[in-house]
């Protein structure tokens, strides 16, 4: 034993333990997110528990099992439970009972020893709704235009309503939205002319007529909308909740009706994928705690693309300067220190700089110069997607520089010399020889920058992200790309829904799903970048030989 210690072997094992812990934590973390995130989409079994509570009353609880944990029995002594005294720990279950209009909390803890009977009745139904969250219960009646009809008509009715809903949404978002946008633009145009002292009575009349025309269009659309609204509120379902209460749910609220306990594995799998599809393509509902994350995905992608457009040329040029042009002097040393520090400065500092410099100083001046008609409400003098892209471009600049420079340094100098010897100028060598060979390295840098930017939240909280953006920064209204608009972001969505929402417990699965989405994007980007880099390294190793 003593010899064993003297050999240092235990310490080697201990340091191996460091590796093991790191591996466990990385893989465990990814596994945890993946498991929790994916289980959000899997149709859960709906249990019915017959139980007896502390007062000896019998009651029925219906819902999904959300969490299990065991707690020391002594913590429950004060409840006067009628349970086995010798047990040291008691298992309890967190049940999602839904039915938010009937009970104040849609979650409840139940103690396993109090359960008398657990079953999975096939007739139990989950109704996913637009408001008030899920409903769990038994269907009593389906009412079509005031008349009770057979229950198997229900799916048909759900489909009918969802078609109408899509139509309404289309009407509201694109058509009515466009008219409102036009009216606002006309008002601003008039104001601009007033400010410039160029408003003639003729022009004023023209603008006025335009607004009148637009308002007429609007009232037509509004009528259509009202008609649709009437149609969707025709049919109802009557459902019995776990405590026997009957609730009437209008079809306009219903998104989906599923008998989870009846589904077989393939049907569940089908539903699993359709849920994932809905998650990435739907708008959020219920203060972001339900529905999809489409606007957040869209916002993240748009912002990152804008950032890429800004950061790529800058980063590549800076790297080329550092590797190909800069001499071995003090300036180069300073530049390298600058790059290292740009990489090391906390991201929130960029946010502060972006807010003060870009938003208030540059944006404020832009407003004074070009958007005076909208003042005092700012156009660019307020956080927006352009400022976010610019701020993150500075933040990710060193990533692109470092990666590109690494690529440049791996290109054998023989290639440069060859090109120069054949009479090419330095610029031509760069453009024709160096850059094409270094392009995978540049790609690596850009992908890494995108991955970094997609996950960064702190600076965005100051320079443009919001919890709920009414309009996407890209839409059908001229000039189509609205750089001044605020946007939603996946990372911020996680923070906001997980920490600022009123019902954190209900929102948690959605946060895991969002986190999974974000992590998969980032991990995929990183793996791509690293594999491109590795391939490149292999290639140069061969060139060198």
């Amino acid at each position: 034993m003593n010899n064993w210690f003297k050999s240092g072997s235990p310490w080697v094992w201990l340091s191996a333990g460091g590796v093991s812990i790191s591996l466990i934590s990385v893989l465990g973390l990814l596994g945890l997110i993946a498991w929790r995130g994916l289980s959000y989409f899997w149709p859960a079994d709906i249990y019915q528990f017959e139980m007896t509570d502390e007062q000896g009353k019998n009651l029925t609880v219906i819902g999904e099992i959300y969490e299990r944990e065991s707690i020391p029995a002594s913590q429950l002594v004060h409840l006067n439970l009628n349970i086995d005294e010798s047990a040291e720990t008691i298992e309890r279950l967190l049940i999602k009972t839904g039915n938010r209009e009937l009970v104040s909390l849609d979650f409840r803890w139940i103690l396993v020893p109090q359960i008398n009977n657990t079953s999975l009745p096939a007739e139990l139904v989950v109704i996913e709704r637009r408001t008030h969250g899920n409903f769990y219960g038994y269907i009593e009646e389906v009412i079509l235009d005031g008349q009770a009809v057979e229950q198997n008509k229900m799916l048909q009715l759900v489909e009918r309503v969802s078609d109408f809903q899509a139509e309404m949404e289309d009407l509201q978002k694109s058509d009515i939205g466009a008219i409102n946008y036009q009216i606002e633009r006309t008002r601003l145009k008039e104001r601009k002319h007033i400010l410039d002292n160029t408003l003639t009575t003729q022009l004023q009349q023209e603008l006025k007529d335009k607004v009148v025309g637009l308002k007429a269009d609007y009232s037509v659309l509004e009528e259509q909308l009202m008609a649709l609204r009437e149609k969707i509120s025709r049919d109802q379902i009557i459902v019995r909740a776990m405590d026997g209460q009957k609730v009437t749910i209008n079809f306009e609220d219903v998104l989906q009706v599923t008998f989870n306990n009846k589904l077989n594995v393939f049907e569940k799998l089908k539903m699993f994928f359709s849920q994932i599809g809905a998650f990435v393509s739907d708008d959020p509902r219920e203060a972001n705690t339900e529905g999809g994350v489409f606007p957040a995905i869209f916002g993240t992608v748009l912002m990152v693309l804008l950032m890429t457009v800004i950061v790529s040329p800058l980063g590549v040029v800076a790297a080329i300067y550092l590797h190909e042009y800069a001499g071995n002097n003090a300036l180069t040393k300073l530049l390298r220190i600058a790059v290292i520090n740009l990489a090391g400065v906390p991201s929130i500092v960029y946010g502060v700089f972006g807010l003060g410099f870009f938003v208030y100083m540059v944006g404020g001046s832009l407003d004074d110069l070009f958007y005076a008609e909208t003042l005092p409400s700012p156009t660019f003098g307020t956080p927006g997607v352009m400022w976010s892209a610019l701020t993150l471009a500075i933040l990710t600049l060193p990533v692109v520089i470092v990666s590109t420079e690494e690529g440049l340094s791996r290109i054998p100098s023989a290639m440069r010399h060859g090109s120069l010897a054949l009479g090419a100028t330095k610029a031509e060598t760069l453009w024709r020889i160096i850059l094409p060979i270094a392009s995978p390295a540049i790609m690596t840098g850009i992908i890494l920058a995108i991955a970094r930017a997609a996950g960064e939240v702190a600076p965005l909280m100051l320079v443009g992200v919001v919890k709920m953006a009414p309009n996407l920064p890209l839409d059908g209204n001229f000039p189509f790309l609205h750089l001044d608009r605020k946007f939603m972001h996946l990372g911020f969505h996680i923070y906001d829904v997980g920490f600022q929402s009123p019902n954190v417990e209900a929102a948690r699965p959605l946060v895991y799903a969002t986190a999974l989405l974000l992590v998969s994007i980032i991990v995929a980007l990183n793996i791509t970048a690293v594999s491109i880099r590795n391939r490149l390294r292999e290639k140069y190793r061969m060139l060198d030989q």
Binding site: G18, V19, P72, S347, Y495, V523
Partner: protein, 745 residues
Amino acid sequence: MAIASKSANYRKVKNSLAKWMITLGGISVLFTLVLIFMYLLYVIKPIFESAKVDVTAKFVINEEYKVLATGVDELKEVAYSITEQGKINFYQLVDGDGHKAGEKILSQSLVADGESLTQLINVGQKQKLLIDSAGNVQLIVPSFTANFTSGKRVIIPSIRYPLGKEYLPIDENNATITKLSFAMDDEKAIFVAFTQDNRLIKTTLLAEDDFNYDTAYEVQYQEIDYGAKQVNDILVSSGLSMAFIRQNDQVAVFSLDDEAELKATIIPQLAQNKSTPNHITTMALLSGGSSILLGDDNGSVSQWFEVATDEGREFKEIRRFKVSDNEPVTAIYTEQYRKSFYTETPSGEMGMFYTTSEADLWRGNLHQGNVQALSIAPRADGLVVFSNNELTIFSVKNEHPEVTWQALWQEVWYESYPEPEFIWQSTSGSDDFEAKFSLVPISFGTIKAASYAMMFAVPIALTAAIYTAYFMTPGMRRKVKPTIEMMEALPTVILGFLAGLWLAPIIEIYLPAICLLLVFIPSSVFITAFSWHRLPRKYKTLVPETWAPIILIPAILLAAYAAFALSPVLELHLFGGDVRQYITNDLGISFDQRNALVVGIAMGFAVIPTIFSMAEDAIFSVPRHLTSGSLALGATQWQTLIKVVLLTASPGIFSAVMMGLGRAVGETMIVLMATGNTPILDWSIFQGMRTLAANIAVEMPESEVGSSHYRILFLAAFVLFVFTFVVNTLAEFVRQRLREKYSSL
């Protein structure tokens, strides 16, 4: 030929153009960093500037009578003077509305015909109590309304009588009043007066409805038992809670809240233990109404307020300002909304100070000779002075008096606090709230969070780096290194979310398990290692020692499972069933769910890959001939590692740790989500903290642009910037040196 040379020229131009463009692009990186630095400085600079006072306008105005009071409107466009004769004259200060600057635009008599003013008492900045030669008392407020006619703003002056035009019935006996002061709110007005027949009286006017709408009132008289022959000054606090009566060097405080009995508390005499005793010369109330300022003949001003002590509430001298070396303080003027005050000495020397931050903001002479009246502009951005028939308007640039280097980094004694403290409290619901900007608690929080994170990360990251770089087979290293580095790419918002919503509840419930892990994991490693050591040789070749990290994974998982399974049992037998309660009740330590332990672990995970990656590089690039030499001389692998490899790589390891520290200090999202964000000064592992970065993220969106708060948040960002700059530059410098050393070896 011509074409060839043209194209050669063109190529040459293109070549040099490319060179310049690329150079410009390269330099722009440096420019960006400098721009960030300069911009942050530019925003911060105003908070450390001292005040500036400049003359903006001067008018010669011949008042026939002595000027008793002066004042100006909010926009500094119209000023007024009230003369001994009982007249108020308004003067235009800027050209406009058919009046030239300096022209008299309105003159009105404030007293009955044949009377004049014997006394004028300024109460606050606006209200004036007038006592005429017949002994009648009236309250007036010179007021200004802005009128917009044809797009132009015109200030129209007028006189308001907040308590009605009738003379105020101050004394039931109608004795002549020698000293008087008052304060009012919507419901009542309290007058405290000293009469010629040596009575100190309190008169309360109770509004029948609300003084804003109706000036009707009821009068209540009360005599204060004080027995003074003479009173120098009377002040009533703006909250109607206290009256201060000065009789020579003694100041008595009466609580006005207690209707039945008016008992005096004597503020202790000034300047004990001095050979030349000071005499109080003047007294003023500080904005907010709970502090009193006393000026003495020794040229100093002291601030006093009530402090809770063991013997109850007691007035204490909080701080003292040396206003003049040899002259007495003749007058103290206080601002309406901020805790700034101005002092004056007989020679006309003025000073501007801010109490809380103890800032000596400005000193100078505003006028030559005799000043008749001085008033601070309502927005505290100017002064109006009447002296020698001259009306002078000064602009005062003093936007951030509450911020000084001391106030940010040293303990500050705030009003109604028992002692000086470090406090960060930037906003509150009430209006008369004084913002408290001490960077100490949040800087402390930053250090605390970073320390716990480093405590967790450094051992794991360094051991992992050592093993990966020195003992691991190349094949395994190629897989393991990118996997651990993958962690660096994980968005911190996800780590923070997991820390706050997943880890924090687990730690709260399984706290004993976390402690057990500290013992279980190392022991499981040793046990596994020893069992492997004892394994027969033929099995050893099957699972070679180089697989240690893989062999250990199940062992560690098993240890962790054991720890969590034992946790409730341990909790039951050692901590009476509930660790949380045990910690709060038996140990007396408060327990937050989102505490330093959670932050330490979560941020540790964020820092591990940074440290691991750089330390691994440093160890891996130690030249092979050094280790070969050591091993050839008979040293074991472990000895070689400790004595040769780590020693050579130590600068690189140091720089890795520094980089990790830099990352931990600036991390925002994890701390924001995994702590309660309370700015406290406590090392306790079971309590949270607020860090500089999280503080910026929380407060920046709500802070008003250009305010002191906004600029202090920029200062916080600047502190972070400078700190990480130093750390990163140092780490980079060390790394460069190391690289040179390696290449020379």
